[in-house]
Symmetry: C2
Subunit: 329 residues, 2 copies
Amino acid sequence: MKKFINNVDTVLNESLQGFALAHSDIIEFSAEPRYVKRKTLKGPGKVALVSGGGSGHEPLHTGFVGTGMLDAACPGQIFTSPSPDQMLAAAQAVQQGGGVLFIVKNYAGDVMNFEIASEMLEFTSASVLVSDDVSLPKTHSTGRRGVAGTLMVEKMVGAAAENGVCLSECKTLGDRINLATASMGVALTSCTVPALGKPTFAIGDNEMEMGVGIHGERGRETVPLKSAADIVEQVATIIDEDLHPKKGQEMLLHVNGFGGTPLMELYLVYGLAAAFWQKKGLRIIRSLVGNFTTSIDMAGTSITLTLLDEELTRLWDAPVHTAALRWGG
Amino acid sequence: MKKFINNVDTVLNESLQGFALAHSDIIEFSAEPRYVKRKTLKGPGKVALVSGGGSGHEPLHTGFVGTGMLDAACPGQIFTSPSPDQMLAAAQAVQQGGGVLFIVKNYAGDVMNFEIASEMLEFTSASVLVSDDVSLPKTHSTGRRGVAGTLMVEKMVGAAAENGVCLSECKTLGDRINLATASMGVALTSCTVPALGKPTFAIGDNEMEMGVGIHGERGRETVPLKSAADIVEQVATIIDEDLHPKKGQEMLLHVNGFGGTPLMELYLVYGLAAAFWQKKGLRIIRSLVGNFTTSIDMAGTSITLTLLDEELTRLWDAPVHTAALRWGG
């Protein structure tokens, strides 16, 4: 394992301390219990947005804490759910009288712990469960996984909450964005969890993993390495058949990197995906390309499509000021 | 080689086409000769800022084209200088009557081709040569290499040009920023150039390369893998001895990733580097952490320190709207 670390037991806190120092203008870090909160809360009546999950997906979620997005994020150990006491402490630290909305990626541990936190909370809360990974069927026993589409939920609901939208409407909106969003990932290599010290899964030199999860979970199938055009055609077709957008539909296209794939390849994938949907008569009116929902150092990419309408486009465009996303103010 | 590509001969143009599509609100791409230009030029009298160099360092330089930074960037083939006709076409496309300032990283091919372009140009031009890599001695035969500190020159001179500063003052400013900036990189793995199909250099499982260049060039020495704390101590000491900042000095600290190293590690490195200089009584007042000057998929990081004063801080803070850097407007 070749990594810039001192000790596998302290890597997470050391990294978060560096993060807190680099972004001390917008966030604050609590080490015990562990959470990152927005430095300046908007104040009276705002719905507080709290997310979290296992670490190793940076900048998700800590990089999305700030004006117009999350009020707090709870980083668990790498690929491990945060605990209810982290969520509780974070929620208490950022609640502003408008209730708390938890944004939860659909993994058993996260779901359970956020539920426990909700029950222990002394003020109103609701949850949005993100399940955008269409590499698994809708009928999968534990439901679909939450992957890169989580960013869209956090950004758009974040804008709504910033504008004073109430808890129940934020919850409805989050569910709506989740349903309008579909993602699928492909891995060329495994990732290496520091504490494990070796690749999470084995993959041949001429193989790739279609439908991989953001922890390197096996997806649909291990297949021989293909051209970027073939990969994008296959992934985009699966997403398209799930969302079945109509001709003329406006959309947001997000090409996400898993950490080890350079921008040059991500933009190449973006170009192919954009061409796929343009040929079908869709209108790509917003784009995001880069490493946002990563899997440590995995070489791979995911494609996320969100069907837009006027409201969602406005929420996407609204000002945001976080470590990883910043525009409009 | 595991990459998202169709053909090693077309990867660059395919990627740039995707880039142009994703950022059509701010840039335009010319395929022949190859350059990326700002979509909306500021207009009469503005100094036009043109940079360029071999591809494989994305988002440098194409990701820095836009309001408040570059007017155009000329991407060469991967790790290969762009040609004078690219530079000439780009300069002609973006000149606005205030002359052209070329920002050139110090590599023989880039220097020669930008010089040829300058001579062929029919209007006034000047060049800033970036040479921030302190892993080589000041007396090195071809001078020091230009690496991640190029971003600081492009951002700050970009802000000055946007504010109407004239060509000779932009040139003086760029030289001053270059002298106030020092960088050094460390590689844990090689990078893989698509056309080559295998790692550029060999490095043992328990080795690292101190003072690596952004093309994977050997730097100071190949040494056994060390802890992040030891690496940062060594790199920061070399930078510090070169710039010898005074106690109380305000500075910008940039931790750059080479493409294959995850944010978690970059922030950990940032925290260690910040602590190093804080202990010496310096004041880190601005920060930038992320993959900005990459070496395709190399696992590695570089640390860049820029000594700030009121003028440079103001130029750093000025609004910028590019694909890779965006704030303040």
